[in-house]
Amino acid sequence: MPSDLPIDIETRDGATIVRPSGEVDLARSPTLRTTLGEVIGDGVSRLVLDLSQVDYMDSSGVATLVEALQQCRTRQATLVLSGLQDRVRSVFEIAKLDAVFTIRPDLDAALGD
């Protein structure tokens, strides 16, 4: 069974934009984890994770993002999340992580910081 999570990567205004699509659950978060690890390992200084195409995320997805945040902090890179759909934002709120991450309503706002 294909368990792939399609992920677009783009560079714009000095930021690296990572845009996964679909449902980020236990089957698919490992793909996101690998991609984020590679992008951060490449020495990016500003990472924007555009979640506008993500319809679903469970705690395995959230854990993946917490790990990426910690890696960014270690390397003095910034991580911004943008475009969260309501149901994804709700998981961050329940996990009390909505204040820990920098969250912007859309990509323009995330790039404009």
């Binding site: 659950d25 236990l26 089957a27 469970d58 917490v66 910690q70 709700s90 998981v91 329940i94 996990a95």
Partner: protein, 164 residues
């Protein structure tokens, strides 16, 4: 947790401990919950609770082996209030239910969020060991709107079967 007085299950599912089966199970739960009168958010939360529970069985109960068996028993109860009751059973590793506790969320680290999320989005979330092997988890959820975050502190808590 006797089942003597329970109505027959509406749907009973047996599945393998494969992560790629989580999405099909969620799709079924969302559709069922919407038909049972849950709104979008409540249906999504019920599916999220089941997803977290199954993910824990796969990762902890079966240590990520894909050939374990998991049973989901879904009942739509009417009494005293309309309630979704979902039992999740496995034959995997056991753990003392009193050891399953949400961690302190102030500590920022990956992992340790599943049980907290399950408790937060359901009205009951009770673990017990099965004999001779495995765990049983009973999740309950009633369709109703509550303000986010404080549904556990409101008046209605007294009538809720939650035992956290």
């Amino acid at each position: 947790m006797s089942e003597q007085h329970d109505p027959p299950p509406t749907i009973r599912l047996e599945l393998l401990s494969r992560p790629d089966l989580l999405a099909p199970v969620r799709a079924m739960i969302v559709s069922l919950a919407e038909r049972f009168g849950f709104d979008d958010i409540e249906s999504g939360h019920l599916a999220l609770a089941v997803d977290e529970a199954l993910a824990n069985v796969i990762r902890h109960g079966y240590e990520s082996r894909p050939d374990g068996r998991i049973w989901l028993t879904i009942r739509l109860l009417d009494d005293p209030a309309p309630t979704f009751r979902i039992e999740i059973e496995d034959e995997g590793r056991q753990i003392d239910p009193s050891q399953i506790n949400p961690r302190d969320l102030d500590e920022i680290r990956p992992g340790g969020l599943g049980v907290h999320i399950m408790r937060e989005v359901t009205d009951a979330c009770d673990f017990e060991t099965r004999s001779p092997r495995g765990m049983r988890l009973v999740l309950e959820k009633m369709p109703r709107r509550r303000p986010p975050h404080d549904h556990r502190d409101a008046d209605e808590t007294s009538s809720s079967p939650n035992r956290t």
